[in-house]
C-alpha cells in the first residue's frame, strides 16, 4: 500500500478516546444526537419495505460480483471507453495521486472542486493536489466546514456530525464574516455563495463513485446537497475515483442498490440527487464536461478479497448504518479510530486493508452487541469478523491482555447506557479525573494527566430540564 491517510494512527485509539471523552464532552453529545437521529430514520425506512429480502438480495448480488470482479471491471472499462470516458488503474494511493495530479497539470488546472469521497481521503488526494499548486475546494457543506478547520471527516455520511452549531457559528464568523448568532440557513447561504464562485471557476470536478454499472459503464453517485451534481456538470473535466469493489452487473441492480443504500444511510427512499455519469457530453444541448476520467483503485482491496473471512467486508456500500448503531462509536465519534474508515466497518476492514498490526486495537473496540451486524444492509457479519480478527491478533501476540480487558470493559459499558450514565454521573459529582478512573477504559490513563472539570449536571439532566 502506498502513502495515504488510512490507518495513520489506529494504535492511538485509546489515547484519543480518553481525550475526547474526558476533554471534549460536546463531541459525544453531538455524535450521539446525530447517530440516534440517523438510527430512527433508518429503522423507519427499513420497516416500510421487505428489508430482509432486500438485504439477502444485495448480499447475493455483491457475492456474485466479487467472485467475478475481473470480468465486471473489464466489462465496465469497455463500456466506459465506448462512451468516450478514460479509464485508469491504480494499484495504490501513490499511483492514484499521480494519475489525478498529472491530469490536473496537463489541463493547467488551478482549481478543483470536490464532492464528498472517502476514497479521496483514503489516498490523501487534497494534500497531493495542493503540493502541485492546485487549490482544492471541498463542496459538501460538512466537508467544507472541516476543510476550514483542517480536520478530516468523522463519519462516512455526516462528515461533521461531531461539530455543534456554536462551533460552526464561530468558524464562519471568523472566515466568512457571518454573524456569531447566524442560524444554519444564514450560514449555509454564506457557504453556498463562496462555493458557487468556486464551482464557476473550477477546472476539474473530482468525485467518488457509489457504484459502477458494468453493463452500461455508469458511475452512480448519491447525495442530498447537489454539490456532486454540480461537480460532475460544470467543470470541463470530471474525475471519478472508484474502489475496484464498487461494481454492479446491470442497471436493474443499480435500481435496487440506490434505494437500499439511501434507506440504510439516511432513511430516505432515495437521496435528493442521484447522478448517473456515462461519459463526456456529446449532445449539442448538453453543457457537461468535455472529459470524464474513471480511476479504478485497489489500495489493499485485493488483499481483502484474498482473505479467508474479511472478503465479506467488500460488500460494504459505505452507508454508515453500522456507525450509527454502534454504542462505542457514539461515545467518541470517528476521529478516535485514527483511520478514514471508523466504527465497526473500519474495525473489520482496516486489519485487511492495512495489516492487522497497523489496525490494532480496533477489533477490540466493540462490545460485540451485534447492533452493527443487524443494521448492515448487505449482511456483513461484522461481529463474527471482529471475533476472527481478535483470534488472529491473539495468535499473533498483538494484543496485550491488560489493554484487551480495558477496551472490552469500556465497550461493554458503552453498550449498556445505564452503566455509562452512572459513570457520566460520577464525573459530575466526583470531578473528571476521579470519574475517568471510574470509567474502565480511562482508568489506567487518568493518572497521567488532569482532565478539565465538568459541569455540575450531566448532559442528560440538562436536556431533561430543557436548559442550555
Amino acid at each position: 500500500m502506498g502513502s495515504g491517510k488510512t490507518g495513520e494512527g489506529a494504535s492511538q485509539y485509546r489515547a484519543r478516546s480518553r481525550r475526547i471523552i474526558g476533554g471534549a464532552p460536546e463531541v459525544r453529545e453531538a455524535v450521539t444526537d446525530a447517530t440516534l437521529s440517523f438510527e430512527r430514520k433508518r429503522k423507519r425506512a427499513y420497516a416500510e419495505v421487505d428489508f430482509d429480502a432486500w438485504s439477502d438480495w444485495a448480499r447475493d448480488v455483491k457475492n456474485h460480483v466479487l467472485a467475478r470482479l475481473d470480468h465486471y471491471l473489464t466489462e465496465a472499462e469497455s463500456r466506459l471507453a465506448e462512451n468516450g470516458a478514460h479509464v485508469h488503474w491504480a494499484a495504490d494511493a501513490r499511483e492514484a495521486q499521480r494519475i489525478v495530479t498529472r491530469l490536473a497539470e496537463k489541463a493547467s488546472a488551478k482549481t478543483v472542486v470536490k464532492g464528498k469521497s472517502m476514497l479521496s481521503e483514503e489516498i490523501g488526494l487534497n494534500d497531493a493536489l495542493e503540493r502541485a499548486g492546485i487549490a482544492v475546494f471541498e463542496t459538501d457543506l460538512g466537508e467544507y466546514v472541516l476543510q476550514l478547520l483542517g480536520e478530516s471527516p468523522s463519519h462516512i455520511v455526516g462528515p461533521a456530525i461531531h461539530k455543534n452549531l456554536e462551533q460552526v457559528q464561530r468558524l464562519f464568523a471568523e472566515r466568512l464574516g457571518t454573524s456569531l448568532s447566524g442560524q444554519p440557513d444564514d450560514l449555509a447561504r454564506a457557504a453556498r455563495q463562496t462555493l458557487r464562485d468556486a464551482f464557476a471557476g473550477a477546472d476539474i470536478g473530482i468525485t467518488g463513485a457509489n457504484f459502477v454499472v458494468a453493463e452500461t459503464g455508469t458511475v452512480a453517485l448519491i447525495e442530498n446537497e447537489g454539490n456532486i451534481r454540480l461537480a460532475t456538470s460544470l467543470p470541463k473535466i470530471h474525475v471519478a475515483l472508484a474502489g475496484v469493489e464498487k461494481l454492479l452487473p446491470r442497471m436493474s441492480d443499480l435500481a435496487g442498490f440506490l434505494q437500499l443504500t439511501a434507506r440504510a444511510a439516511t432513511g430516505q427512499p432515495l437521496g435528493s440527487f442521484v447522478t448517473l455519469v456515462q461519459g463526456p457530453a456529446a449532445h449539442p444541448g448538453d453543457d457537461g464536461p468535455e472529459e470524464v476520467h474513471v480511476v479504478f483503485l485497489d489500495n489493499g482491496r485485493t488483499s481483502v478479497l484474498e482473505h479467508e473471512h474479511a472478503w465479506e467486508a467488500l460488500r460494504c456500500v459505505r452507508c454508515g448504518a453500522c456507525l450509527n448503531a454502534c454504542p462505542v462509536y457514539r461515545q467518541t465519534g470517528g476521529h478516535a479510530y485514527g483511520s478514514v474508515y471508523s466504527g465497526p466497518v473500519g474495525a473489520v476492514l482496516n486489519p485487511a486493508l492495512l495489516g492487522l498490526r497497523q489496525a490494532m486495537p480496533l477489533p477490540f473496540a466493540s462490545s460485540l452487541c451485534g447492533a452493527c451486524g443487524d443494521a448492515c444492509p448487505v449482511r456483513i457479519p461484522i461481529p463474527d469478523l471482529l471475533v476472527r480478527w481478535r483470534e488472529e491478533a491473539q495468535a499473533a501476540g498483538l494484543a496485550p491482555k491488560t489493554e484487551q480487558a480495558a477496551l472490552s470493559a469500556f465497550a461493554g459499558a458503552a453498550a449498556r447506557p445505564a452503566v455509562f450514565r452512572l459513570a457520566g454521573k460520577a464525573g459530575t459529582r466526583l470531578g473528571a479525573t476521579q470519574a475517568a478512573r471510574a470509567l474502565p477504559m480511562t482508568g489506567a490513563w487518568s493518572r497521567e494527566r488532569a482532565l478539565p472539570r465538568p459541569s455540575g449536571r450531566t448532559f442528560r439532566e440538562l436536556w431533561r430540564e430543557g436548559i442550555e
Binding site: A30, A53, D60, V61, H64, D70, L73, N83, A85, H86, V87, W89, A90, A91, E95, I99, R102, L103, D140, L141, G158, A160, L165, P184, L187, A188, R192, A200, N224, N227, R229, T232, S233, V244, M251, S252, A255, G256, Q259, Q268, P269, L270, S272, F273, V274, T275, L276, V277, H283, P284, G285, D286, D287, H293, F296, D298, T302, L305, E306, W311
Partner: protein, 214 residues
Amino acid sequence: MRDGGSDSTATDRARILARIVQANARRDAPPHPGRLETPTPSDAAEVFAARFAASGGEVVVLDAGTRDSAGVARSPGERLGEFVAGLGLERPGVAIGACVPEELRPPGPYAPPETAGVGVCLAWAAVAETGSLLLESTGGRATQLLPPVLVAWVPRGRVFGRLGDALGELAPRLPAAVGLHSGPSKSADIGGTVVVGVHGPGRCIAVLEETASR
C-alpha cells in the same frame, strides 16, 4: 479510451486483475440472484406525487383545456407562465432547458441559468416508488441545477411505478449523464438542522398534466 497511454496504469491494471483472479481461484462464483422485485404501485402518478411531496418537492397538476376570458385556448406554456409568475421568485428571469418544446415554454423574460430565478426543463420521466424526476443531461445541466427554483414538466404517461423499470427502459439509450431529483437540495451538516437550497435548487416543482399516469 484506456488509461490515457500511461505505462504504469497499464501495469497496475494487469496486476490488479491478476490479484483478483488469484484471490478468487479457490472460490466458486455464486449465481446472480436476478432482479429485486419491489411492489408496483397501483396508481403511479398518485404515489409519485405523495413521495415527491414527502421529500420536500412540490407537485402541480395543470388541467387540460383551460381557456382565457375570451374563450381562447391557452397553451401549456402560457399556463405555466401564469404559475411561474405567482411563485414570488427571489429574482426574475426564466432559464429554459434545451429539450423543452415550444408549446411548453412559459413566455419570458428569459435569463441564463446563472442569473435566472427559475429553471424550466422537461423530465424524461418520473418514478413513483422513489418520488423522483429523471432528467437527461441533454436538456442542459446548468438549467437543472443553478436557479434557486426548478420546474420540471413530466410528460403525460411518463410516471413509472418502479425505478428499475425506468432505468431499464433508459439503459439502451442513456445520455452522457442522468440526474434523479427527489426533492430540493438539503443538508443537515450544520448542527443537525435541515436547510434547503444549499447547492442545488431549494424548490423543486414537478408539473404533471392531467392523466400523466402510466
